[in-house]
């Protein structure tokens, strides 16, 4: 699948970057808004992978990031939350980016959708674990927080991809 060694190395770099950002992010507490709300900075990496390398590789990066994060932090339970959120977010972002016309959503919109999907995925795991549908009542708070973080993630994703696309121009056509 990864024939091009340059791409392969870059993918490894992306996974490492996502891992480092997630780790860093799990250390800084967010004083305002609700507990459980995170900056979602590692979503920048997944968004960039999605745009530059396509949907499948974004999924790979998302999975690897979640699994490796479990190995680094040692909390297995949070891996299921992270994995579900990341997979769901990547899928939704992939659909929003590749299946919907580019004129409708810019990267900011795609990233906000991803943030919302991430929250939804995580809460769904929480629902499965706790058998309590009331966990979804937390969604509005997370969505509001995700709007802000998603906005800035999309903004930074735009600047990063603008540069990266010049170096990896080939993957634009085949995706999803």
């Amino acid at each position: 699948m990864l024939k091009d060694i340059r791409t392969m190395i870059f993918m490894a770099l992306l996974v490492g970057l996502a891992l480092a950002i997630s780790l860093f992010e799990s250390v800084i507490p967010i004083p305002f808004v609700a507990p459980g709300a995170k900056l979602g900075l590692s979503n920048i990496v997944i968004l960039v992978t999605l745009v530059v390398f396509g949907f499948r590789r974004a999924l790979i990066v998302a999975c690897l990031k979640s699994v490796l994060l479990m190995l680094v932090t040692g909390s297995v339970s949070s891996m299921f939350f992270s994995l579900a959120g990341a997979l769901f977010a990547t899928t939704v972002m992939g659909i929003a980016y590749f299946k919907v016309s580019r004129k409708v959503f810019s990267l900011i919109g795609v990233s906000i959708l991803g943030a919302v999907a991430h929250n939804f995925g995580q809460l769904s795991v929480a629902y499965i674990v706790m058998h309590n549908p009331y966990v979804y009542s937390y969604l509005p708070v997370l969505v509001l927080a995700g709007l802000f973080t998603g906005f800035f993630v999309g903004l930074s994703g735009r600047y990063v991809t603008a540069n990266l696309k010049q170096h990896f121009p080939q993957k634009e056509k085949k995706a999803l």
Partner: protein
């Protein structure tokens, strides 16, 4: 490349409106659901289940059993005994109870009043998973 497309703006507005609305909805539902009830037990068995008063005007419930007589006052968020024929009147002196798990006991009359159910502000968290 424009800063934000029209789709983005619509998406943001939609999400804000939807989340604010469901925020309000959740609040509204939560305030209506009150799982608390008052359990009155006599001689170790549940004798009566009562709801809290729905208005500010307290309701009165007279408990008359073979062991004695107590007059219970039930407010919107409290229960207390205002009259009793027991000798020490400890249940009257105890005053009102308001939270789930609290009890009023009148030993001579073998009566226990207990608030049961979940607290409206949620259960106390004893563990979190990260």
């Amino acid at each position: 490349m424009r800063f934000m497309t029209r789709g983005d703006k619509i998406l943001v507005v939609l999400l804000v409106v939807a989340s604010l609305f469901s925020f309000w909805l959740v609040k509204e539902i939560n305030s209506k659901i009150d799982s608390r009830y008052i359990s009155i037990q006599v001689n170790g068995e549940e004798y009566e289940r009562l709801r809290f008063a729905t208005s500010d005007e307290p309701e009165h419930y007279e408990l008359e059993t073979q062991f004695g007589r107590n007059l219970v006052e039930i407010g919107r968020d409290y229960v207390r005994v205002i009259e009793a024929d027991c000798p020490d009147k400890l249940d009257v002196l105890q005053g009102a109870i308001t939270r789930p798990g609290q009890v009023i006991v009148c030993l001579p009359n073998r009566m226990i009043i207990e608030i049961r159910g979940e607290a409206p502000d949620g259960p106390v968290i004893d563990d979190t998973v990260r």
